[in-house]
C-alpha cells in the first residue's frame, strides 16, 4: 500500500484504492452490525434478560433486520426544517468517522495509509463530525434537537482538547506522530506498552474518549430522559441510520486508536506468544476496549452538563498537562 501511494495516480490505481475502501467499508459495516448485537446481548446479560434472539440463529440477524427496516422507511423531512443542511448533516457526521480509520495500523503489514501525522489527522478529522451534529440539531428546527446539538458542540470541544493533550505524552516518548512507528516502539511484551508509563494519560484518554463517543456516562447530547433523543430527534429512516452508523464507527475507530496508542497494537503481551499473528492480538485488545465501553454503559448513570464541563476543564485538562510535564522531566532525566 505504501508503494502504491507513492506512485502517480492512474485509473487502475484509483480502482485499487476504491476496492480497498470498499473492503474496509464492508469490514466496518460488519463490525457495526455485530457491535450492536454484541452490545445488546451483553447489556441483556448484565441486566438479567436475554437480548435479541428471534431473527436468525441466536438473534444474529437482528441488526440486519433493524437496518433493513430503517432503509425501507419513508424518508421524512420536517416541513420547517432547513432542507439542504438537514440532508447534509448525517453525511458530515459519517464521512470523517470512516476516514479516520485509514490511519489505523491493524497489524505490522496491514494498514491503509502509513501517515506521518497519523494522530493529528485523526484529531483533525474527528472534530469535523461535531459540525455535522450541530448542523443536524440546528437544521431540524426542533428545540430538543437544538439543545442536543448545542450540548454536543460544548462537550466535544471541551473533550477534544484533553483527548489530544493526553496523547502528547506518547508522541514525546516515541518522537513520532506516525501510528505505525508508535506501535513499533512498544513491541516486546506488555511491559513495553504505553499504558504503563503513560497511566495518567491513559486514564484521561479513556474518559475523554468515552465523552467523544457520546456514550454513557457522557451521553448528554442524546440524553433520552431529558432531551428525548437530542440532536437526531427529527431524523428517521436511513438518515437516522447514518447517525447511528457514525456513532458505532467511532467506537471502532477510537477503540482501535486506544489499542494502537496504549495497548501496543498488534504486539503479543508476552514475547513467546509471538507465533500467533498480530491481528489476533489487535482484535483481542480492541474487543476488550469495546466491551469496556459496553460495560460502562450497563453500570453508570449520566453526568450533568455543568459537571461534565467542570470535569473536562478542571480535572482532565490539568491532568493531561501535568502528564506532559512529568513525561518531559522523566525523559530528560533518563537521557
Amino acid at each position: 500500500m505504501h508503494d502504491l501511494l507513492q506512485r502517480e495516480m492512474s485509473l487502475s490505481l484509483f480502482g485499487i484504492f476504491t476496492f480497498w475502501a470498499v473492503v474496509m467499508l464492508v469490514i466496518v459495516l460488519g463490525f457495526v452490525t455485530y457491535a450492536i448485537y454484541f452490545e445488546r446481548k451483553i447489556l441483556g446479560w448484565m441486566q438479567s434478560r436475554i437480548g435479541p434472539n428471534r431473527v436468525g440463529p441466536l438473534g444474529l440477524l437482528q441488526t440486519v433486520a433493524d437496518i433493513l427496516k430503517l432503509l425501507m422507511k419513508e424518508d421524512t423531512i420536517p416541513r420547517k426544517a432547513d432542507r439542504p443542511f438537514f440532508i447534509l448533516a448525517p453525511i458530515i457526521v459519517y464521512v470523517p468517522s470512516f476516514a479516520v480509520i485509514a490511519t489505523i495500523p491493524f497489524a505490522e503489514n496491514l494498514y491503509n495509509a502509513n501517515l506521518n501525522v497519523g494522530i493529528l489527522y485523526y484529531a483533525a478529522l474527528s472534530s469535523i463530525s461535531t459540525i455535522g451534529i450541530v448542523l443536524g440539531g440546528w437544521a431540524s428546527n426542533n428545540k430538543y434537537a437544538l439543545l442536543g446539538g448545542m450540548r454536543s458542540a460544548a462537550q466535544m470541544i471541551s473533550y477534544e482538547i484533553p483527548l489530544v493533550i493526553s496523547v502528547v505524552g506518547i508522541v514525546m516518548m516515541s518522537g513520532s506522530l506516525n501510528l505505525h512507528t508508535i506501535v513499533s516502539q512498544q513491541t516486546g511484551g506488555f511491559w513495553n506498552w504505553n499504558f504503563l508509563p503513560q497511566i495518567v494519560g491513559f486514564a484521561v484518554f479513556i474518559v475523554a474518549a468515552i465523552s467523544e463517543l457520546n456514550r454513557t456516562p457522557f451521553d448528554l447530547p442524546e440524553a433520552e430522559s431529558e432531551l428525548v433523543a437530542g440532536y437526531h430527534v427529527e431524523y428517521s429512516g436511513f438518515r437516522f441510520a447514518f447517525f447511528m452508523l457514525a456513532e458505532y464507527v467511532y467506537v471502532f475507530a477510537l477503540s482501535a486508536l486506544a489499542t494502537v496508542l496504549f495497548l501496543g497494537g498488534w504486539d503479543a503481551p508476552l514475547p513467546f506468544l509471538d507465533f500467533i499473528p498480530g491481528i489476533f492480538w489487535f482484535i483481542l485488545k480492541f474487543a476488550f476496549f469495546v466491551f469496556f465501553l459496553i460495560w460502562i454503559r450497563g453500570t453508570l448513570p449520566r453526568v450533568r452538563i455543568d459537571q461534565l464541563m467542570g470535569l473536562g476543564w478542571k480535572v482532565l485538562l490539568p491532568l493531561a498537562l501535568v502528564n506532559i510535564i512529568i513525561t518531559a522531566v522523566y525523559m530528560e532525566i533518563v537521557k
Binding site: L43, T216, D219, S225, V228, T299, D306
Partner: protein
Amino acid sequence: MIRTEELVLNVGPQHPSTHGVFRVIVKLDGEVITEAIPVMGYLHRGTEKLAEDLSFTQIIPYTDRLDYVSAMTNNYALVNAVEKLMSIEVPERAQFLRLIVMELQRIASHLVWWGTYLLDIGAMSPFLFGFRDREMIINLFNELCGARLTYNYMRVGGVKWDAPEGWIDKVRQFVSYMKEKLEEYHSLVSGNEIFLARIKGVGKYDAETAINYGLSGANLRCTGVKRDLRKDEPYCIYDRFEFDVPVGTNGDCYDRYVIRMEEIRQSLRILEQAVEQFPEGGEIMGKVPRVLRPPVGEVYAGIESPRGEIGCYIVSNGKDKPYRLKFRRPSFVNLQILPKLLVGETMTNLVTILGGIDIVVGEVDA
C-alpha cells in the same frame, strides 16, 4: 451585543421522563429554567364524579386505577373510610392479609420508583433490576387475587380472597431474597459518585415550605419532619409492629432517595413480623350487610401510601352510594411544589426533581 431571548420548551405530555402524560411548559434561558408551568389533567377520568353513581363495592376497582403503581393502598384508603363510617369490625386474618399486601405494595412501588428514577438519571440497569424484583411481588399478588396491577382485592369488612396454601411461605422467602437484593442495589447505585453528584443538594426545601405546601410521605420526611400515618394515626394493625420512620435533614433529592430505600428495609421488617404472627385459619370477611348503606354523615380517613398521605373523604346521605367522594391524592399535592423548585435549575435537574417527587399521573389527574 448578541440579542438573546427565552426559549419556551414544552416538556410532555409525550416525554419519556414525565412518567405518563404530565406536561411542564418551561421557559429556558440557555439551559436554566426561569419559569415552569405544570399542566395536568391529560389522564383525568373523573373518578370522584363517577363514584357518586356507584355503590361502595363498585368504587373499589376505580381506586385501583388512581395510583396504579400502588393499587393495594388505594383499595385500603376507600374501604378503611367506609369501615370507619359504618363502624365495621374487620377479622384478624383479613387485617393481616391487608397489612401484608400493603407493605408488599410499598416495596413494589418503591422499586418502580427506584428503577425509573435511575433511568431518569441515565442509568439503565437499575430499572431492569427493580422491575425484576417487583415482578416477584406481582406474582405473589397474582396468586392471591388473579391480577397483576389492578387487584380489586379489598372489600368493606375484609378481603376478597384468602391466602392460598403456601403463600405466606412464599412471602417469607421473598423477604429474605429482597433483603439480599437491597444490599446489591446499594452497592450498585447508592455510593456512585456520578449519582451522588447528580442528586445531592438538588431540589432543596425546608420543613416549613414542605408543610405549607401540604407535602407528605418521603417528600415531607426528607426535611426532618417525622410524620408517618402508620405511626402517628395507626390504622389497620400497624401499632402491633416494630418499625422506624426514616427522616432526612437536608430536604434534597438525595435524602428522598435514602428515605425511600430505607422504607423498603422497614417494610421488610414489618413483613417479617407479620408473617411470623400470621393467624392460622379464621374468617376473611367481617359481618357486613348485603347492601352497604353508611349512616348519614361524613368521614375522612387518611393512610400512608408509598407516595404520602392518601385520604378518602366520604359524605353519605344514608343511601348505598356516596353523596360525595373525595380523594386526597398525595401525588397531586406533592406536585404543587414543582414550579417553585424548578426556577433557577437546569433542564437536567427538571428530570431529577420531578423524579424525586415521585408522582403517578393516574393519581395526579384522578
